[in-house]
Every structure is written in structure tokens, then in C-alpha cells.
């Protein structure tokens, strides 16, 4: 890799100094994407600012009322194994378990994963279903950005170059919330993703409400499909499901890639979603 300086600030005050010197600074989470970008000369930083020693960046706090706070430097392995995640956000847990490899999950962080902004960033799908909000900090102050507003398409985000994700927040969900994650990839590591989908609904009075469908690999960013979600409210019959699946197809724009044509990605997504919706409904019938 080309030479750069590595700094590991222990406070945000210390970080300000480095971010305002007019140097090219890249923020380091787990590095599993950043180091590739540096190796390929896509990025040529003067300075790498490691966020892993900043206070609060490893926080994991759950409160049944306020929900979950996850520091930006928490790694994906924690999402795959942590008790509070498994118990209260099983869809996030399931997605993290299926993603990449133990080696990558042990390094990759939540902040880096959200900032990476790939159209196939799998963790974004459950984050969208759980209404996750990013909390950020820059030398100009703090702000909050819902994950649904973070992506501008084609790897662009609403983050400023000197803006750090400090933590994310997920509201609490009722115990009877069901979620399913489905993916189809060429290889287990999701970098040859055909399509993926996270689906979630809340069981209330013998019906399923608050449906959320978040899709991956079929548009310029991971996104929810509210047009389809609305059609599933209540106790969806086969005809409703068919209409919802059609609504998904009308609202996606998959690209051809060397390993999957766009029409194939559409077909795969359709199958994944059909399975997911039926899974959630049968969960309701079993309970």
C-alpha cells in the first residue's frame, strides 16, 4: 500500500485537529473495504483516522423502551452472536450470520458497513426494516440521518468526508415481530450478490401489520418498497401477495452484471420474497 499516516485519536476533540488540517483523511473502521480501495489506488489518503479507540464507539446498550444503541466500531461478529441482538433484533442477527466469513465479520464494523454504501451491502436491509438511525459527528457538530436517507445511489452517501458515524440507534420492537432474511449469491461471500431481501411484520390481533420489505442488489442502493408493503397489511391472501410481488417488480431497477442478468435478478428476488412472505405468515399460524 502507498504510504500514509495512521492515527488513532482517543477523543473527538483530538480527531478535530486531524480533520481540519486540509489533508486527505479517510476514516478507518474494520478496513476490509478501505484497504482494498487504497490498494487499488481508488483512495490515496495522507492520513488514516482509526475510530476504534474513540469513547462510546464500542457501546452496546439495549433498553426495552428506548431500543438499541450500537457504537460504530462494534463488529459484525457481535451482531451475529450477541445475546441482545439475537433476542430483540433476530432479523439483524440472522443477516449478520449469513454475511461474509468469520475473518471479515471479526473486523468489519457497523459504521464502516453503513458508510460503504454498496447497493449490495446486506446489513442495510435489516437496518431499513428496523428504522435504524445513524448518529454522526463532524467538526461542525452532530446530526442524525435515518438509514433510509443515508444513500444517494451508486456508492454515494449523505455523509460529508469529515463526518463520522458515532453510533446507530434502533427503536424497540414488540416481541411478536417476525423477520426473514433471504439471499442468493454466487459465492458465500456476498460480493457476487444476485439479490437479497429482508422482510418483517408485526403480529397484532391475529393480523400482520407494519410490513417492511427491504431489497438488495436490484437497484442503485438498498431500499424499502413501500408500494408493496402497503398491499400486505392485515392478513394477506394469495392474491394480495401476488400483487405485492408485482409492486416490487415495478419499483426496482436491477443492473446486468457478468454473473447475473437483470431479468434473472428479478426472478431470483421474486422467489426470495415469495418464500419470505410465506415464512412470516406460517410463523403467525404456528403461534
Amino acid at each position: 500500500m502507498k504510504a500514509f499516516d495512521y492515527i488513532r485519536p482517543k477523543s473527538l476533540e483530538e480527531a478535530v485537529g486531524h480533520l481540519t488540517q486540509g489533508k486527505r483523511v479517510n476514516i478507518l473502521g474494520g478496513g476490509v473495504t478501505l484497504f482494498l480501495q487504497i490498494q487499488n489506488n481508488e483512495l490515496t489518503p495522507d492520513v488514516i483516522l482509526d475510530v476504534k479507540a474513540l469513547p462510546g464507539f464500542h457501546d452496546i446498550r439495549y433498553h426495552h423502551h428506548h431500543g438499541l444503541k450500537l457504537g460504530a466500531a462494534v463488529n459484525l461478529q457481535h451482531l451475529a452472536t450477541g445475546l441482545e441482538i439475537r433476542r430483540h433484533y433476530p432479523l439483524l442477527n440472522q443477516t449478520a450470520q449469513e454475511l461474509a466469513s468469520p475473518q471479515i465479520r471479526n473486523r468489519a464494523t457497523i459504521g464502516g458497513t453503513l458508510a460503504w454504501a454498496s447497493p449490495v451491502s446486506e446489513l442495510v436491509a435489516p437496518m431499513l426494516c428496523y428504522d435504524a438511525v445513524c448518529h454522526t459527528w463532524s467538526p461542525r457538530g452532530t446530526r442524525t440521518i435515518p438509514v433510509s436517507e443515508l444513500y444517494l445511489g451508486d456508492f454515494k452517501t449523505a455523509l460529508e468526508p469529515d463526518e463520522l458515524i458515532t453510533h446507530i440507534h434502533l427503536p424497540s420492537f414488540p416481541a411478536r415481530t417476525y423477520g426473514v432474511y433471504q439471499r442468493q449469491t454466487i459465492r458465500h461471500d456476498g460480493r457476487r450478490m444476485i439479490a437479497g431481501a429482508a422482510t418483517l411484520a408485526i403480529h397484532k390481533h391475529h393480523t400482520l401489520t407494519n410490513w417492511r420489505i427491504a431489497v438488495l442488489g436490484v437497484d442503485d442502493r438498498p431500499k424499502r418498497v413501500p408500494e408493496a408493503e402497503a398491499l400486505l397489511e392485515g392478513a394477506p391472501a394469495e392474491a394480495d401477495i401476488a400483487r405485492a410481488l408485482e409492486a416490487v417488480q415495478e419499483n426496482i431497477h436491477p443492473q446486468d452484471v457478468v454473473y447475473a442478468r437483470s431479468d434473472y435478478r428479478r426472478a431470483v428476488l421474486n422467489a426470495l420474497l415469495q418464500r419470505s412472505i410465506h415464512d412470516i405468515i406460517s410463523n403467525l399460524q404456528d403461534s
Partner: protein, 155 residues
């Protein structure tokens, strides 16, 4: 930018001077001579460079040496003890878990990480633990068998 760091490698504290951009893989192989750690793809896909960093398996090509300052690192060289080879190493030899050998040290490290958590893993758990390790000889069946036998042999 140079950094003076210490690494606790296979139980021994080692002091070294590294550049910011130097990877842990480079430090282990080139500065400490631990060539059991293999350089494969540089992109985190093949797992040949796997080491345990504070007990967790990572690709050493995707960690800066300076990020690992003060950490405990286990490489394949650290598996054997004065009493001889680690049961995983013996089993890899006995059950042909090593074909050309390039992936073997990474496989051993992933297997070690698994056995640290789960003493009697199912085949499915072994497969999942090896998702980040490629074997271009395709010796997966023998590798999985080697790990299974080693885990049974342990008690």
C-alpha cells in the same frame, strides 16, 4: 510514519518498528520470519493469511500491524508445544488435510478458532467456520474430516 509497537506473538513479546501502511501479514512474515502465515489474495477472500488476533480469527492482510499493537497473536507456528504437534496438526497429517499445503496454516487457524468456542463441532459448524478459507486443491472433504477427528481426539 513509523510506529514502535509490541506484539505478543505465539506467547512471546516482540518489539518492532513498523510503517503505518505495513500490514500485520507483512510484519509477521518479513520482520518476524513467521512464513507459515501465507500471502494469498490480499483481498480477504482466501484466508491463507489467517491468524488469531486476541483469540479471534482475522485475515492478517487486512489488518495494519500498528492496529495490532499490544495484541496477542497466534500463528500456525504457535500451535505446537514442547510435547509435540497440536492434535489438529496431527490429524491434518493423518487424514490428508494437507494437499499442496498453501491453505493449511490458515485452515488450522480457523479450525483452532472454532475449537476454542465449540469442543465438538458438527460438520455444518466446521463448514461455516471455513467459509473464509479457500483450498485450491479442493481437499475440503479431507480437511473437514481432519478437524472432526481432531475434535473427537481431544477428549
Amino acid at each position: 510514519m513509523k510506529h514502535e509497537i509490541q506484539l505478543i506473538v505465539n506467547g512471546e513479546t516482540r518489539s518492532l518498528t513498523v510503517e503505518s501502511q505495513q500490514t500485520l501479514l507483512e510484519a509477521l512474515r518479513e520482520d518476524l520470519g513467521l512464513t507459515g502465515v501465507k500471502h494469498g489474495c490480499s483481498t480477504g477472500e482466501c484466508g491463507a493469511c489467517s491468524v488469531l488476533l486476541n483469540g479471534e480469527v482475522v485475515n492478517s492482510c487486512m489488518v495494519l500491524a500498528v492496529e495490532a499493537a499490544d495484541a496477542e497473536i497466534l500463528t500456525a507456528e504457535g500451535l505446537a508445544t514442547d510435547e509435540g504437534l497440536h492434535p489438529l496438526q496431527k490429524s491434518f497429517i493423518d487424514h490428508h488435510g494437507v494437499q499442496c499445503g498453501y491453505c493449511a496454516s490458515g485452515m488450522l487457524i480457523s479450525a483452532k478458532a472454532l475449537l476454542n468456542r465449540t469442543s465438538r463441532p458438527h460438520e455444518e459448524e466446521i463448514r461455516e467456520a471455513l467459509v473464509g478459507n479457500l483450498c485450491r486443491c479442493g481437499a475440503y472433504a479431507d480437511i473437514i474430516k481432519s478437524i472432526q477427528v481432531a475434535s473427537r481426539a481431544r477428549r
